[in-house]
């Protein structure tokens, strides 16, 4: 969506109380949101049904299901809705998890624990079945039909939830399968599904180019380097939705992506954080600012990249320790020194709380190409630019993916 489109839309959109007929023009966010769903592999082209309500309710396309969703808009204080069948392999995974669920799916990853809590499942695509669930949570899965998510601040919020549901279910499926296989408890149907799903996975990401080389001389160069690395991280599917963050320390300033920013759209979404704390402008910086600050202040690294590559997250949750006193609280603390592909796995939660990952990651990243945070994601760091951090992110994820299938194969 360009400003031109937006201005045209704003001028044409006339409200009912202006006593004029609203023109037939599609909401400018429809195309943006559908493109994002498709490009990130979350939905097939043409599948997403998008609804937006301001004074009038608009849809991106016709659908026989629209009356159902109109009913939902009537009962919920929301302004945006996405309904779509997810693309493969999410579709098969989510339908499978929904079938096994007892009304809701409860993944153990960080995104679900912090933001979604659990994922309601409805067996019917009907207002009566959906409205009670959507009143409680921001999403509902309808096996065989798709996922509904909503937003109160526009389609982007609904998109973030849609993406998080897909990510959480992916991680849960592969995590559960490894766990069940180790116990010899994966049934035939699940094994067949697993075999089918892995055929639909993206090929391992590869990158043979080079990123901008540091050290950088100006703010402009720093921001360009951050934007380039962020964009590549999204393009290589090493992060989903609006999660992940990136920073580079230049002089006495840490340049860091803003909270809730999409790493492939960092134009105007980079905060400048003075290391002496003399300005609170970075109040909108990423939640992980404390971790980035500690890494650049306590290690030799000046460039930090944080993504949510799926198999790194899945392997971080594979622990064989029996009778562990911390079982169920692995995200808060872990008494063991764990690694995956030689990379440390640490506990820690998002942000600044008593169990903040800023207490674990900076120490653990010394002498390592990266650190995996349990059930959450991967931090990598480099001295002057993002060549190291980006390649480490990609290599560690590919290694974790190989290691995952090795572990399954050994069973």
């Amino acid at each position: 969506m360009g400003f031109k489109d937006l201005n045209r839309y704003n001028k044409l959109k006339v409200s009912k109380c202006m006593s004029a007929k609203a023109p037939s023009i599609r909401h400018p966010m429809f195309r943006t949101t559908e493109n994002k769903l498709v490009h990130s592999g979350l939905a097939e082209p043409g599948a997403p049904l998008l609804g937006s309500l301001d004074a009038d309710l608009q849809w991106n396309r016709d659908s026989r299901n629209i009356p159902i969703f109109e009913n939902i808009f009537n009962h919920l204080n929301i302004n945006a809705l996405i309904f779509s069948q997810p693309a493969e392999p999410y579709r098969s995974i989510i339908d499978h998890l929904a079938e096994l669920s007892n009304g809701s799916i409860t993944p153990n990853d960080c995104e679900t624990r912090t933001f979604l809590h659990d994922l309601p499942v409805s067996s019917q695509l009907s207002p009566d079945a959906l409205i009670p669930r959507l009143k409680m949570r921001k999403s509902t899965i309808i096996p065989g039909h798709g996922i509904i998510t909503w937003g109160m601040t526009g389609l982007e919020q609904a998109y973030v939830t849609f993406s998080s549901v897909c990510f959480a279910c992916f991680v849960k499926f592969f995590s559960d399968f490894l766990s069940l296989s180790k116990k010899g408890a994966a049934d035939r149907k699940t094994r067949r599904l697993f075999d089918r799903v892995i055929q639909k996975l993206d090929p391992p990401a590869s990158f043979s180019g080079a990123l901008m080389e540091g050290p950088f001389k100006s703010t402009k160069e720093v921001c360009e380097a951050i934007q380039e690395a962020g964009r590549l991280t999204v393009e290589h599917r090493l992060v989903d939705s609006y999660f992940g963050n990136i920073s580079l320390c230049h002089g006495q300033t840490l340049y860091i992506s803003q909270t809730g920013s999409s790493l492939d759209r960092l134009n105007d979404a980079i905060d400048l954080c003075p290391l002496d704390g003399s300005s609170c402008v970075p109040i909108t910086a990423s939640s992980e600012l404390p971790t980035h600050l500690k890494i650049v202040q306590q290690t030799e690294s000046k460039a930090v990249l944080h993504g949510h590559p799926k198999f790194s997250v899945i392997l971080s949750m594979d622990c064989d320790a029996e009778n562990c006193e911390c079982r169920g609280k692995c995200h808060l603390k872990c008494p063991r020194e764990r690694t995956a592909c030689g990379v440390p796995i640490v506990s820690g939660e998002v942000g600044s709380g008593p169990h903040s990952l800023s207490n674990t990651v900076p120490e653990a990243i010394r002498g390592h190409p990266g650190v995996i945070v349990y059930g959450h994601g991967l931090f990598t760091a480099g001295e002057t630019d993002f060549n190291g951090p980006f390649n480490h992110l990609l290599d560690i994820e590919n290694c974790c993916r190989t290691e995952y299938f090795n572990r399954v194969g050994r069973l």
Binding site: S19, A55, R137, M152, C280, V281, P282, I283, E349, S352
Partner: protein
């Protein structure tokens, strides 16, 4: 009963008597508590003059107060605003709500007028009306000292006694119920203070579920840069927003003539921290602790006060900001209205105010002396009597806070539609337009904002009624608070169900304002914002707001709020929401 006590104290100052009222459970569920319940109890009297003896003064807590619910130590004070004539309320922290709940009451309705200056002292289930003549004319800290050991205190200062229309009520010496002039509502009843001390508990339906729901909120709070982050309000106070407003070129400067203050970098939260080394404190039941108090006991100004006593007045002396805040608190005056009125005076009189001028004028307002007598009417009335209504930066007579609407169009719409006038807290779109939560929205667009503002208003009406601090909703949502509500009260609900109560509370306020003659003409911004650009930077141009786009968005808001095309409530919607008609004032 869990959560609520199901008990309201009705105090009549004329007869110096009180009685207990047991509200219908249905009413508690429909209006929750705090702002919602106060709105229910005032609605039948709302067309009386603000100083009519039968105009009630209401103090209400919510079902979450005095439980382990996060940020639940707040309450609402409400009456008809002496400043605006609209519904007037103020959500306030400190420990007053907490003590009221411990004393066994969900709320107090005060009516009548005492013959002499009086106080109300509540000690558990006992209420006494006392002679407050020894406190006459006392400033806040002196009065609070004289009330030592009587529990939480709500006190008015000399400003209210002298008839200042933007008088505040100060809770526990430091926490201001600032907006709408509720201090003058106290004074109109000859009520100088209220003290409350209680020892009871609030019954919680499911303490285990409450603990679990609390953990969810704490996790979200920890993940919030604005609340607990390196530069968040827990560390720097609400003044943490100061630098951001400067960077966004939306800091109201020199009575909103500019949107950039050249000296902002030396007047920011970091500078306050360096100069005054404040300690953290906060309301009861809060883990964010955004209130900052210096070692010598001086309150460090909140963001709005910091901004308005520096940029809005063009003042570059940081100590004057603190002193102005102290004078306002001691006199019992709303800092936003006071600073805005001075800025209006400065522009009309074409007189730049020195630090000395600022302090002496504030003192004169509080004492109703000299120019202070006129300025004590607030910016809108002062500007009108000066023949320059266009220079009052106010909506519905309530002076605007420290977010320039040209820098955030949702905020522009929210200022216009707010039921209490120029208030940022009713919808608080700064959350998504500036602070990027739950996701960032385009601050220079009205696109989709109408319904977002309606939703924001409903959300904050629920927050003010539960009660919970609005700041927590930078991180959590009603999804989490519905679980807390259910754990405390035992009533199954959802976030979306609570929104229905929020809609009812907001619609009730629109009905009350409509009954007092407010129309779409009052849902508007000062003309300056449609004609004058702000200060631009290399990255941002602050343009005048497009008038047509604003009016379209306002119409869209009326549609979203289910009002008619003139912004008036309709009987059908009122009926659906269970709201009986309010007779319109003749």
């Amino acid at each position: 009963m869990h959560g609520w006590h199901g008990k309201i104290a009705r105090i009549d100052l004329t007869s110096r008597s009180w009685r207990t009222e047991i509200p219908d459970v249905d009413i508690l569920m429909k209006f929750i508590g705090g702002r919602g319940l106060a709105g229910y109890y005032i609605r039948k009297k709302i067309t009386l003059n603000w100083n009519h003896p039968e105009m009630p003064l209401l103090l209400f807590t919510g079902p979450l107060v005095n439980t382990r619910s996060p940020t639940s130590g707040r309450m609402t004070l409400m009456s008809r605003s002496p400043l605006t004539g609209a519904v007037g309320d103020s959500s306030v922290g400190g420990s007053l709500g907490f003590q009221l709940k411990k004393a066994g009451f969900d709320g107090i309705v005060i009516s009548g007028k005492s013959r002499n200056l009086c106080g109300v002292e509540i000690l558990d289930n006992d209420i006494r009306i006392t002679d407050a003549s020894p406190l006459k004319g006392c400033e806040i800290s002196q009065a609070a000292s004289m009330l030592k050991n009587k529990g939480a205190t709500a006190v008015i200062g000399p400003a209210a006694e002298n008839g200042v229309l933007f008088s505040s009520v100060i809770i526990d010496r430091h926490f201001a119920a600032g907006r709408s002039g509720i201090g003058l509502s106290f004074a109109s009843k000859n009520l100088k203070y209220i003290t409350i001390k209680g020892s009871g508990k609030t019954s919680v339906f499911d303490p285990v579920a409450l603990s679990s729901a609390r953990e969810d909120v704490f996790r979200l709070t920890a993940a919030s840069p604005v609340l607990l982050g390196e530069f968040g309000i827990s560390r720097f106070g609400t003044g943490a927003l100061y630098d951001l407003m400067d960077a966004k070129r939306m800091m109201p400067t020199e009575n909103f003539q500019k949107t950039r203050f050249d000296r902002a970098h030396s007047m920011n939260a970091h500078a306050f921290k360096k100069n005054f080394t404040p300690k953290k404190t906060g309301c009861r039941g809060c883990h964010i602790l955004c209130k900052k108090i210096a070692k010598n006991g001086t309150s460090i100004p909140e963001f709005e006060t910091m901004s308005h006593f520096s940029a809005l007045l063009g003042n570059t002396d940081i100590r004057t900001v603190v002193n102005a805040n102290t004078v306002c608190n001691e006199m019992g005056m709303d800092t936003i209205s006071a600073a805005s009125t001075l800025a209006c005076f400065s522009e009309i009189s074409k007189r730049k105010l020195s630090p000395r001028d600022i302090i002496s004028l504030l003192t004169a307002i509080g004492k109703k002396q000299g120019a202070g007598a006129e300025l004590g009417m607030g910016a809108a009335k002062y500007a009108k009597t000066s023949g320059r209504s266009d220079l009052a930066m106010a909506v519905k007579g309530l002076e605007l806070p420290a977010y320039d609407p040209r820098g955030a169009y949702g905020m522009a719409l929210a200022y216009a539609t707010s039921s209490r006038g120029g208030c940022h807290l009713r919808a608080y779109p700064i959350s998504h337009e500036i602070l990027r939560k739950p996701v960032a929205t385009d601050r220079f667009s009205f696109n989709e904002k109408a319904r977002m503002i309606k939703i924001g208003e409903d959300l904050n009406a629920v927050a003010d009624s539960l009660t919970a601090c609005k700041f927590i909703f930078f991180a959590a949502s009603l999804e989490e608070y519905a679980r807390i509500y259910t754990a405390v009260t035992g009533i199954e609900t959802s976030g979306q169900d609570l929104f229905e109560a929020g809609e009812r509370i907001c619609y009730n306020e629109r009905m009350m304002n409509a009954a007092n003659g407010f129309t779409d003409k009052d849902d508007d911004l000062p003309s300056r914002f449609f004609t004058m650009p702000g200060v631009q930077s290399n990255h941002v141009r602050i343009q005048p707001i497009d008038r047509d786009a604003f009016l379209t968005a306002r119409c869209n808001y009326y549609t979203a709020r289910k009002l008619n095309k003139h912004g008036m409530p309709t009987s059908n919607v009122a009926k659906r929401l269970g709201l009986e008609p309010i007779p319109v004032k003749i």
